[in-house]
């Protein structure tokens, strides 16, 4: 890294917000560096949430949440194409269980109209026609057809990949610890001793966004992290629940949702408890509560198909809206914080918007070579048997299935390693293309994936990490010492 180079923009944080800003910035003639403290992008909230692209009926009209959510939802179909993501507009149903809920649904309908979101109230009978496995106790539901699902980690990674395809730089394991103003530019110092200069800095540090702002000035908001725990069920039946199912929001929160993921698994959660910034543990009582609530919505939800539990930390803030602003005191600092739900749905719209703020600030020209599309991922399910057979002839590794639960070939794994923002850990491969995500949770394929990683990255087996630096899976070999 050239330490004398002055970047136009340094983005702090490789979550979906940071990577979206990076991606949209690359439409302009600009030098961008993204600094991420973890060993991969999307390691915090962006990698552990519901994966829902909300329709936008819920946020209060006139707020940034409403604006960016509705916009983000509208942008998503095309962005998904460009970024080769599976975006499924399965629609959401918000259920009513009481007369009070009925009233809430009417209010929500009004809100939806104000936000410009298409919704429809359904009677009990209409709901059962489309979702026969829901509780018989429901009164009705609000259908929002534009709501969809996307892999949140996939979105984050592919945004970064596209940004890098267009020239953005990414440094992992670079935790920002200090920011200093030096005449015309900012100097950003990292915990590992490195520092970088830039004309503008974007604070997209998620649950630590207020702490990053505090490195320069008095924070304009404070993050109050909330933890959400989830169950993941196996893909046992694609028709069991077809929509994203929400409960009626109450003062306490949005309640538990049940939704398919783009891979056909079912996600059940989240809880909503205050927590420490990096507390991603799960606990038995919370999970038990989620289960109870979910069974009220869907009495036959087969929890015996559970394959995993996880939790993520939402960067809620004390401001009742997203914080998206240029610092008043500190020229060139942009704060993009408190992006809790509907953050995923809003991310691309926020990226678009913030990139334009920076363009105007720095009077950036257009990047005439900008390519919004990433190289397509190839899989059997996408291209069909005949084309896949031709591919195997050219590259036999596509004929070697490594993950039998999720049907992922060696060729796909190798491809995921050699892309921009490519996988270099077991978890990185898992989150990009799914080996280890299935019912066996990697019991069968982890050892294979580890060997492929070592071979492709030209590293000894013991240097392959599960996730963060230092999480090496294997110890050094101790056999045959005498002969070596």
């Amino acid at each position: 890294m050239n330490q004398n180079k002055i970047y136009d923009v340094i983005i702090i944080g490789g979550g979906v917000i940071g990577t979206a800003i990076a991606r949209y910035l690359m439409r302009f003639d600009v030098k961008v560096l993204l600094l991420e403290r973890h060993n991969d992008v999307g390691e915090e909230a962006s990698g552990a949430n519901s994966g829902i692209v909300h329709s936008g009926y819920d946020p209060k009209p006139g707020t940034k949440k409403a604006k960016f959510n509705v916009l983000g939802n509208k942008m998503m179909p095309e962005v998904a194409k460009e970024l080769d993501l599976n975006f499924k507009q399965i629609g959401s149903l918000t259920l009513s269980f009481s007369e009070e809920d009925d009233k809430t649904l009417l209010d929500l309908k009004k809100r939806a109209e104000e936000n410009g979101v298409d919704v429809k109230l359904l009677s009990k009978g209409e709901v059962f026609k489309i979702e026969p496995n829901l509780s018989k106790e429901i009164h009705g539901a609000l259908l929002a057809p534009s709501a969809g699902i996307v892999s949140p980690f996939g979105l984050t990674v592919n945004l970064m990949e596209n940004a890098m395809d267009n020239g953005a730089e990414l440094l992992l394991n670079h935790e920002v610890i200090e920011i200093e103003k030096i005449s015309e530019f900012c100097r950003v110092f990292c915990g590992n001793g490195a520092f970088f200069d830039a004309k503008t800095v974007v604070d997209a540090a998620g649950a630590l966004a207020d702490k990053v702002q505090e490195m320069i000035e008095k924070p304009s908001f404070s993050i109050t992290p909330r933890k959400g725990e989830y169950f993941v069920l196996d893909h046992f039946n694609n028709d069991f629940i077809k929509h994203t199912i929400f409960m009626c929001p109450t003062k306490v929160g949005k309640g538990v949702l049940i939704s398919q993921t783009t891979s056909g698994n079912y996600l059940v959660g989240p809880s909503n408890d205050s927590c420490d910034v990096d507390d991603v543990s799960t606990d038995a009582l919370t999970l038990e509560d989620i289960k109870k609530t979910a069974l009220k919505i869907c009495p036959n939800l087969p929890f015996n198909e559970t394959i995993r539990e996880f939790s993520g930390v939402r960067p809620n803030s004390n401001v009742d809206d997203f914080v998206i602003e240029e610092s008043k005191n500190f020229n060139g600092l942009f704060i993009v914080g408190g992006i809790s739900s509907p953050g995923l749905a809003s991310a691309i719209a926020i990226g678009d918007y913030v990139s334009k703020l920076i363009r105007d600030k720095l009077s950036l020209k257009d990047n005439l070579n900008y390519n919004p599309n990433i190289r397509k991922h190839i899989s059997l399910s996408k291209i069909g048997k005949e084309k896949y057979n031709e591919l195997i002839k050219k590259n036999p590794s596509y004929g070697k299935l490594i993950c039998r639960c999720e049907k992922v070939s060696e060729g796909e794994i190798v491809d995921s390693i050699h892309r921009n923002c490519g996988a270099h850990t077991i978890k990185g491969v898992k989150k990009r293309i799914r080996p280890g995500f299935g019912k066996c949770q990697g019991t069968f394929c982890e050892a294979e994936v580890l060997k492929i990683l070592a071979r492709e990255l030209k590293l000894p087996l013991e240097e392959i990490c599960y996730s963060e630096l230092g999480t090496n899976i294997l110890l050094k070999a101790q056999k045959g010492a005498e002969n070596e």
């Binding site: 060997k451 056999k479 045959g480 010492a481 005498e482």
Partner: protein, 112 residues
């Protein structure tokens, strides 16, 4: 010799066998008695491990050709860990002859 107890593992019955000096009691069959005698007088174990295959990331499984004294297991493993062998490896090929002079060989249990 003081009193010692052990659970017989010859069959699922799991008799509790006791030895007090020369007297062995609690067994219910001859196999149980034989097991107890060998466990008290000279306990032996079959040992298996792996050896490095030269120029490969894999290891070759090996075992002792006969049970070895229980107390010698770690020493034998040390010997096994020193070795590195070249392919081809034949099934039941001797990898270490007469390991630690125990009169037992280390043999490959798989071919490569």
């Amino acid at each position: 010799m003081s009193k010692k107890k052990l659970i017989c593992i010859v069959c699922p019955n799991g008799c509790e066998i006791e030895i007090d000096g020369d007297k062995i009691s609690g067994y219910t069959c001859k196999r149980g008695l034989d097991y107890a005698k060998s466990e008290f007088l000279n306990p032996v174990r079959s040992l298996s491990s792996t050896v490095k295959i030269a120029d490969s990331d894999l290891v070759c499984p090996v075992k002792t050709s006969k049970p070895i004294p229980k107390g010698k297991m770690f020493e034998v493993i040390k010997e096994i860990n020193k070795v590195s062998i070249k392919k081809p490896i034949k099934y039941h090929q001797i990898i270490i002859k007469n390991v630690l002079n125990l009169g037992v060989d280390i043999i490959a249990t798989k071919e490569f």
